[in-house]
Structures are given as structure tokens and as C-alpha cells.
């Protein structure tokens, strides 16, 4: 009886704002509860006592100045074409893409958050934290907020779907069917929480607790692990001083794998191999010399850094001195955020690559191939001789001076850049391929008696200026 009564009342009040309607319904709900428990009446007795839902709705709507005869008519309203066309357009042009898009975004949001939450439970995170208490607290905070956010998303979807239903039923001149509406109300989390003051209190407390756990736990954990860079000391500098005497007859092979350290390779007037420089304590370099193979490997301690407040960045650099008369077969150098320089040396093959640094090769003689690669740095070669050259950069300039100036000319040279100029001066190589997209190409040879057999120069948005004798 009570349920039917309230549903009917809700229906006739359908044009009221939700909160107004809720309040009026709450009065009547209270009215039933009071009648039953304080006066010992039955639901049907109370219903008889009260005015009919229609009558109540009429009075209420008049009080709120929203009375409209149409609302109380038994027959459905005339369907007007305007709103129907409107709702069809809405479906075709908005809902058709908005709903799938929303669900995609939501799915990725949920997946992303889920993954983040799960990753916090992973062993690496736990190992990297020194404060177990802090990290558990942080995780609890994340999980609580994550669940609350899910509840919020759910509520948002429910309201949106309800809005879509309302728009459609209104277009056809009807209100939302009572059963459907009470269903939507039933599945509302917000309504459930607002119904009871205790639940409302608990949900707010949960939010505050979650937030507090997140902040305090996060602070304790990250401040201790150094993930909040601002709270860590800058790393100490470690001096490198390595000296080894190679056995006579050793042929040297250099293999360097560095991360943030720059490297200079040059010869000196001694029979020892000497490596000096400065390295960060967090990124130690392991140096091994074994029967002609010199290897330098830098290890990094992988850390998750959220805020980096370190303005003073440490510049790490190693200089490798090689005995002047030692035969070098192969040199392979790799680093990521630093420069590479090779000077005054004779070797068989040179391979150097970096990502955010320049490469400079000065006075080097190779009897095979020189391969150089960087992404965001310059490439400078001066007084170099090799048979083949392969030189690539993306955002840097390539400057080649005096290649194979004396002795045999080179065979192939390929120099490629995307956003930099390519400049060649006195480059004596038979087949030259030069390529850039957003830069200029310049090539000039002083020796007018040397004929380049093939030049393939190509730029898209720059100018090409080649002044070289060729056949």
C-alpha cells in the first residue's frame, strides 16, 4: 500500500526538481513511519487518512508554482514532431559516438588505474621501499580512493543513462515509467548513502582516511626511498683512476657501455692504459682489462623518481689513454646522455653511438669502417681517414672536414640527418650519399684534381650547394 502510494505520488510529481520531489516524498515516508510506530496504524489506514496522490501532487505543484493540467490527464499527450526529431538527431550525432567513446575512456581509465594499483603491490616497489609501514599505508590509501572513484564513476554512468532515458520518454510526451524510475533510484549509490546519516558519515570518513593514508604513507615511503628527488642529497662524485700494463703483443679491443658518462679516447706517451675521470656514486663503472679486451660497463640503479629537484646535475666523464704504439683493432662505444670523443688514434674499426650527446672524431685513422650514430647531438669529424663511413643523427648537424685528406680516398660515405645541416669540406671519398630533410647540404673540395664518382645529395626543405669536381 505504502509503496504503491509513494510511487504514484512520485509519478505525479515527476515535473518537480529531483530534490524537491525527494523532500516531499520523504515527508510522506516519515508520515507512514510515524503513523505505524507511534499510533499503531496500518499502512492502509494511513493511506485512507491521507489525500489521494493526485490531490497531494496538485497541492504541492501549486505551492511550487508548477501546476499543469497536462500532468494529470489519463491519456498520453499528443506526440509532437519537434522533440522526436530532436531526440533522433541527438541519438545519431551525439549518443552514437559519445557512449562508445565514454566507455572506451572509462575502460582505459579503469584499466590504467588498476594496473597502477597492482604495480604498487609488485615486488620491485616493495623492495625499493625502506618503510614497509609507509608503503602499506600508501597502498591502502590508493585502494580506498580507487574504490571511491569507481563508485563515483558508477554513479555518473547511472545518472547519464537515466538522463538519456528521460530525454527519450519526454520526447514522446511521457514521463519515465514509475517502475523504471524506481529501478534507477534503487541502484543509486548516492541515494543509498544519503539515505542514512551514518552511511554518509562513513563514506566521508573513508574518503578522508584514504586521502590521509595516501599522503602520509606516500610521504613516508617516497621521502625515504629517494623517489621524491627533492629530499635526497645529490650523489657523491667518485674519482676513477685505473691503470693497467698490457702484455707486449696485446691487440686492444675497446668496448664501452655507458649511460650518463661522456667518454674521450686518446693516445698518450706511456706503455700503460690509463683511465681517469669522475663518476657518480649511483652509477659505478666496472672496468676490466683481460687479454687485450678493455671493457667499461656502467650500471645504474633503477629508481622511480617522481619529483626531481636536483638543479645541479653531475657531469660524468671518463678519459681513456691508450699507449701510442699499441694496435687497436676494434672500438665500440655506447652511451646515452653524454658525448663521445675519439682523438689521435689508429684503429681498425670504430663504432660509436649515443642518444643525447655529440660525437667528435679528431685525427683518427681507420682501415675499415666508422659507424657513428646519435639522435640529439652534433657529429664532428676532422682529419679522419677510413674506407667506409656511416653517419646518422636526427636532430643534429653533421660537419665533416678533411676526410681522407692524405693517402687513399675513401670508398663509401653516407651522412644522414633529419633536422640538421650537412656540411662537408675536403672530403675525398668515391661515393657520397648525403641526406637531410629540414637542413642544407654543403660540399666543397679544395683539391680540384680529385673527382668524386657518385654524389647522391638529397634535402626536402633545404638548399643544396655542391662545389666538387666529379665525373
Amino acid at each position: 500500500m505504502k509503496k504503491k502510494f509513494l510511487e504514484a505520488l512520485s509519478y505525479y510529481l515527476r515535473n518537480l526538481e529531483q530534490s524537491q520531489r525527494d523532500d516531499i516524498l520523504a515527508f510522506y515516508e516519515e508520515r507512514f513511519a510515524l503513523g505505524i510506530s507511534y499510533e499503531g496504524k496500518s499502512e492502509s489506514e494511513i493511506v485512507n487518512e491521507l489525500e489521494s496522490p493526485q490531490q497531494i501532487a496538485k497541492n504541492v505543484l501549486k505551492e511550487f508554482n508548477q501546476y499543469d493540467d497536462q500532468l494529470f490527464k489519463k491519456t498520453p499527450n499528443q506526440i509532437e514532431t519537434g522533440p522526436v526529431i530532436g531526440v533522433v538527431l541527438l541519438d545519431v550525432f551525439f549518443i552514437s559516438w559519445f557512449v562508445p567513446m565514454m566507455f572506451t575512456i572509462l575502460a582505459s581509465l579503469i584499466a590504467g588505474w588498476g594496473a597502477l594499483t597492482l604495480s604498487l603491490f609488485s615486488s620491485r616497489f616493495m623492495e625499493s621501499t625502506t618503510s614497509v609501514f609507509g608503503s602499506y599505508m600508501f597502498m591502502i590509501g590508493v585502494v580506498i580512493l580507487w574504490l571511491l572513484m569507481l563508485a563515483g564513476l558508477y554513479e555518473g554512468i547511472r545518472q547519464f543513462v537515466y538522463w538519456v532515458v528521460t530525454v527519450h520518454t519526454k520526447a514522446f510526451g511521457r514521463g519515465v515509467p514509475i517502475q523504471l524510475e524506481s529501478f534507477f533510484n534503487k541502484i543509486s549509490v548516492k541515494r543509498l548513502i544519503n539515505k542514512s546519516t551514518q552511511l554518509r558519515f562513513y563514506s566521508r570518513m573513508l574518503f578522508v582516511i584514504g586521502l590521509a593514508a595516501l599522503i602520509i604513507g606516500g610521504f613516508v615511503t617516497f621521502a625515504q626511498t629517494g623517489m621524491l628527488g627533492g629530499f635526497t642529497e645529490s650523489p657523491e662524485v667518485v674519482e676513477v683512476d685505473y691503470r693497467v700494463t698490457p702484455s707486449s703483443g696485446d691487440h686492444l679491443r675497446i668496448n664501452a657501455e655507458l649511460i650518463n658518462a661522456g667518454i674521450v679516447v686518446k693516445t698518450h706517451d706511456s706503455s700503460d692504459i690509463l683511465i681517469v675521470g669522475e663518476i657518480s656514486e649511483n652509477e659505478p663503472v666496472e672496468i676490466i682489462y683481460d687479454q687485450g679486451t678493455l671493457s667499461l660497463v656502467q650500471e645504474s640503479q633503477i629508481r622511480i623518481v617522481i619529483f626531481q629537484f636536483n638543479f645541479r646535475s653531475l657531469s660524468q666523464k671518463l678519459t681513456v689513454y691508450i699507449p701510442q704504439d699499441m694496435i687497436v683493432t676494434e672500438t665500440e662505444i655506447q652511451t646515452t646522455n653524454a658525448s663521445i670523443s675519439v682523438e689521435n688514434i689508429n684503429l681498425a674499426q670504430l663504432k660509436a653511438s649515443t642518444t643525447n650527446g655529440s660525437i667528435t672524431i679528431n685525427n683518427v685513422l681507420s682501415n675499415t669502417l666508422i659507424t657513428l650514430k646519435t639522435t640529439n647531438g652534433r657529429l664532428n669529424l676532422n682529419a679522419v681517414s677510413a674506407v667506409n663511413y656511416d653517419i646518422i643523427t636526427t636532430n643534429g648537424k653533421i660537419v665533416l672536414r678533411n676526410l681522407n685528406d692524405a693517402g687513399e680516398p675513401g670508398s663509401h660515405l653516407s651522412a644522414k640527418s633529419t633536422n640538421g645541416n650537412v656540411e662537408l669540406e675536403n672530403v675525398y671519398v668515391h661515393q657520397v650519399t648525403l641526406k637531410t630533410t629540414n637542413g642544407d647540404i654543403d660540399y666543397y673540395n679544395q683539391d680540384r684534381n680529385f673527382f668524386v664518382s657518385k654524389i647522391d645529395a638529397n634535402t626536402t626543405n633545404g638548399r643544396t650547394n655542391i662545389d666538387v669536381p666529379r665525373n
Binding site: 515527508f27 510515524l34 505505524i36 505551492e63 546519516t197
Partner: protein, 105 residues
């Protein structure tokens, strides 16, 4: 009693009842209904409007005999408004009495 006459003074009645002691919706209704018959369904929207206008405040009171009841109490703003309505009422009452009295003579 005429419905329009009643409506004009409902606000005044509700505010004065609540200003004496906080009470719940049904109680307010019964209090007025004892004196002159009104429809229950007009009281509730008035109460709600008074809350949104900050003339009344609400709180829930638990009761050992049954479910909690929503009590209305008057706010400072409500007291001011009540004072204003009372003055208006007295002035109006005087004028009406004067006119009626004059008519009788």
C-alpha cells in the same frame, strides 16, 4: 474558513509554531489543523521552501519508540522574518478590523 484567507497566514503560523519549540512536519500540521482545517499536502512544500530560504533548519532526532523524526527549528533569519510577518499581520488586522468595524457602524 476560506482557503485563500488561510493560505495567506500559513507562513506566519508555521514560523510561530516552530519558534516556540522545534517540531516535526506532521506535528506542525496537526497543530494548525486543530485550529483551522488545512490540507496536509500544502504544509510540506511550505516547510521545504522555508528550509531553502534559511528560515528553518532541520535535524534528525532518534526516538526510542520508533524511527527518527525530522525536526524543524527556527533560524536567526527565520526569527527576523517572523517579526516582520507579525508586524505586517497586526497592521493588516487593524486595517481590516477598522474597515469591518466602520462597515458595521
Amino acid at each position: 474558513m476560506d482557503i485563500q484567507l488561510k493560505k495567506g497566514v500559513l507562513n506566519l503560523c508555521v514560523l510561530s509554531i516552530v519558534s516556540k519549540t522545534p517540531s516535526y512536519g506532521y506535528d506542525i500540521y496537526q497543530n494548525i489543523n486543530k485550529n483551522f482545517k488545512i490540507s496536509e499536502s500544502t504544509i510540506y512544500p511550505i516547510l521545504r521552501k522555508m528550509v531553502t530560504e534559511n528560515h528553518l533548519d532541520t535535524y534528525l532526532e532518534e526516538s526510542p519508540e520508533g524511527p527518527p523524526r525530522k525536526y524543524f527549528e527556527i533560524t536567526q533569519l527565520g526569527k527576523k522574518h517572523l517579526k516582520y510577518l507579525l508586524e505586517e499581520w497586526h497592521v493588516f488586522n487593524d486595517h481590516v478590523n477598522y474597515i469591518i468595524g466602520g462597515h458595521n457602524e
